[in-house]
C-alpha cells in the first residue's frame, strides 16, 4: 500500500442560500485556497476527482461545467462520482495507489437551495416500488429514527442531546449555519415535524463546497508539517430497500469500520456524516466508539450540510484537527443513499 495523507482542506463559508454565485464561482476560491495551503500549482496536481449531483442543480452535466473552476487545459486526469465527494476521495486514494502520480485534488459542491431537497432525494429511490410513492427524505429518516428508538429504548430526549452538543460545538466553527447554546428541554418544547423528528433534528438547507488535497509519502511530508495519514479506508453498502434492512443499526458502517481498523487503537475524535440526530447515535454504535472520543467537534451536518460535500468535509475536518495537533487519531465517516445505506469510514493519524 502507498501511504496517502490529507495535506490541505478548504471549504466555502456555507450559507443557507447563495443565489448570486453559480457553482463555478462558488468553487473557484475554495480550490485556490486549498492549493495555496498546499503550496501547489494547479499543474502539479496529478489527479482530480469530484462528487456532485446534477439533480441538486437542476442542470445536466453540471459536474462538467464545474471543471471550469479547476482549469482543464492541457487535458488533465479527471473523474467524477455522482454522490458525496467522500467517494471521490476514495477514488483518488485508489488512483494514488497506482504510484504514477503523487497528488490528487478532490472537491464536492452542492446548492440545496435551488430546489426542494427533500423531494430531490426521493429520486435516488428505486423507481418501481418506492419513488412513485414520493416518500421525502425526512419521512424516510423518521422511519429510521422510530426504529432506532424502539429497538434501543432511547427517547426523543436522547436525540435532543445530540442537537445540543452539536450546536455547542458549532459555535466555534465559522462555517456553521446552525450554532449556539440551547437545552434539551427547550428543543423538546418544539412540535415534532415528522415524528419522532423535530426541525432541530434535521440538517439545515445549505449551499457550499469543499476541497481536499491528498499526497503520497514523501510528497505529503514535503507539503505538510504534520500530514493526516489515511491509515485505513473502506466503504460498504447495504440493500437499497429499507424494508429488508434493520434500520436500528448500521451493519455497513460497522463492517467498513472494522476493515478500516477504526477500533484498533484509541480514537481521539470522530467526524460523522449524520444528517439527522438519530443517525449520529446509530453510526456511533456502529463505529464502536467509547465516550472518550470527541464526536463532531465541527458541529457536524446538523450545523451545515452542503449536500455532496458534507461527507468530504468530515474527512477534511478530522484531518485538519490531526494536522493542527488537536488529536493523534481520528475516524471520519461519510454516508450516501437513503437511511444510511452506503457508508465509508476513514482512519486518520498524525505521525
Amino acid at each position: 500500500m502507498t501511504d496517502v495523507a490529507v495535506v490541505a482542506f478548504a471549504q466555502s463559508k456555507h450559507v443557507a442560500a447563495d443565489p448570486n454565485r453559480n457553482e463555478v464561482e462558488m468553487l473557484m476560491p475554495v480550490v485556490a485556497e486549498a492549493l495555496e495551503q498546499a503550496g501547489l500549482e494547479r499543474e502539479e496536481i496529478g489527479f482530480v476527482c469530484s462528487g456532485s449531483c446534477d439533480y441538486l442543480l437542476g442542470v445536466p452535466f453540471s459536474f462538467v461545467t464545474a471543471l471550469d473552476a479547476i482549469g482543464a487545459w492541457p487535458p488533465i486526469r479527471e473523474s467524477h462520482v455522482e454522490q458525496d465527494a467522500a467517494w471521490a476521495l476514495y477514488e483518488a486514494w485508489v488512483r494514488l495507489q497506482h504510484g504514477d502520480v503523487d497528488t490528487a485534488l478532490v472537491y464536492g459542491f452542492g446548492k440545496s437551495s435551488l430546489g426542494d431537497l427533500h423531494e430531490i432525494m426521493t429520486l435516488q429511490l428505486d423507481p418501481y416500488y418506492l419513488e412513485p410513492l414520493w416518500p421525502d427524505m425526512v419521512s424516510m429518516a423518521a422511519l429510521q429514527a422510530r426504529a432506532y428508538l424502539d429497538a434501543t429504548g432511547k427517547t426523543e430526549r436522547d436525540l435532543a442531546e445530540v442537537v445540543v452538543r452539536s450546536r455547542a460545538a458549532a459555535a466555534s466553527n465559522p462555517n456553521a449555519i446552525v450554532a449556539g447554546t440551547t437545552t434539551a428541554d427547550a428543543l423538546l418544547k418544539e412540535q415534532t415535524t415528522i415524528a419522532p423528528l423535530r426541525t432541530s433534528d434535521c440538517p439545515p438547507i445549505t449551499d457550499g463546497a469543499a476541497v481536499v488535497i491528498l499526497a503520497t509519502a514523501d510528497r505529503a511530508r514535503a507539503i505538510s508539517e504534520r500530514p493526516a495519514w489515511i491509515r485505513g479506508i473502506d466503504h460498504r453498502i447495504e440493500a437499497h430497500s429499507i424494508g429488508v434492512r434493520d434500520l436500528a443499526t448500521s451493519r455497513s458502517t460497522a463492517l467498513a469500520a472494522g476493515r478500516a481498523g477504526a477500533a484498533d487503537d484509541k480514537v481521539d475524535l470522530a467526524e460523522m456524516h449524520a444528517q439527522f440526530s438519530h443517525e449520529e447515535l446509530i453510526v456511533r454504535d456502529a463505529l464502536g466508539l467509547d465516550d472518550s472520543a470527541t464526536v463532531n467537534p465541527s458541529g457536524g451536518p446538523l450545523a451545515a450540510n452542503p449536500v455532496m460535500a458534507t461527507g468530504l468535509i468530515r474527512i477534511g475536518e478530522a484531518a485538519s484537527r490531526i494536522s493542527a495537533g488537536g488529536g493523534d487519531r481520528a475516524v471520519a465517516h461519510a454516508s450516501s443513499g437513503p437511511c444510511l445505506q452506503h457508508n465509508l469510514v476513514a482512519v486518520l493519524e498524525g505521525e
Binding site: 464561482e25 473557484m28 480550490v31 442543480l57 482543464a72
Partner: protein
C-alpha cells in the same frame, strides 16, 4: 379482491411499461458573471470577460477561464458584429416557437471574443449562409429589451468581404 392465483397473473404476460410522473421545480440564479452579462444585454451591450492569465475573452462569460480555473473579472465591451464560424440549416419545424423553415442557426464569433455566441441568421437565403460570413446583430425594438439574449432577433450580413479562414479556424 376477486383474487387470482399468481400463476394466473402471469398469463397476462410481462408488464412492459409503467408511468411514474416526475416534476421538480428550481429557482436558479444566473451567477455573478452571467448576471452582469444579462444586465448589459438589457441595455443593448455585449459584455465579455477577459482571463488575467491568457487574455482570452469569454462571450458570454461564466465567471472563470476554464483553461486556467481563475476568475475573469475584467469586463470587455464587444461590438455587435462578428463572423459566422459554423452553422446549420434547419429544414424540419420542431417547435411552435421556431421560425419558418428553412432557417439557419449559427455560431457567431464577435470581433474581439474567443468564444462564439449562438444565434439565428436572417436577411439572406439560407443556402447562401457560409462559414466566414460577416454579420451584425439585428436588435429587437428597444422597448422590448429584457435580461435576455433574445433582445437580438437575429444576425444579418454586413456586406463586408468574408473573413479569412485563418481568422476563425481556432474557434470551430
Amino acid at each position: 379482491m376477486s383474487g387470482r392465483a399468481i400463476e394466473d397473473l402471469n398469463e397476462d404476460g410481462p408488464v412492459t411499461k409503467m408511468h411514474a410522473p416526475i416534476r421538480l421545480e428550481y429557482r436558479i440564479g444566473a451567477g455573478t458573471a452571467q448576471s452582469r452579462f444579462l444586465r448589459g444585454v438589457a441595455e443593448g451591450k455585449l459584455l465579455g470577460q477577459k482571463c488575467p492569465v491568457c487574455s482570452k475573452v469569454y462571450m458570454p462569460p461564466r465567471g472563470s477561464c476554464p483553461i486556467h480555473g481563475v476568475p475573469t473579472e475584467e469586463e470587455v465591451e464587444l461590438p455587435d458584429r462578428g463572423t459566422v464560424t459554423t452553422f446549420c440549416v434547419v429544414n424540419i419545424p420542431f417547435s411552435d416557437l421556431a421560425p419558418e423553415v428553412p432557417y439557419v442557426c449559427a455560431q457567431v464569433l464577435l470581433d474581439g471574443a474567443d468564444t462564439a455566441l449562438f444565434g439565428l441568421i436572417a436577411g439572406m437565403p439560407a443556402r447562401e449562409v457560409r462559414m466566414g460570413l460577416r454579420v451584425r446583430a439585428e436588435w429587437a425594438p428597444r422597448e422590448e429589451w429584457t435580461y435576455n439574449l433574445g433582445n437580438i432577433k437575429w444576425w444579418e450580413p454586413t456586406g463586408e468581404p468574408d473573413a479569412d479562414y485563418d481568422a476563425y479556424k481556432d474557434y470551430i
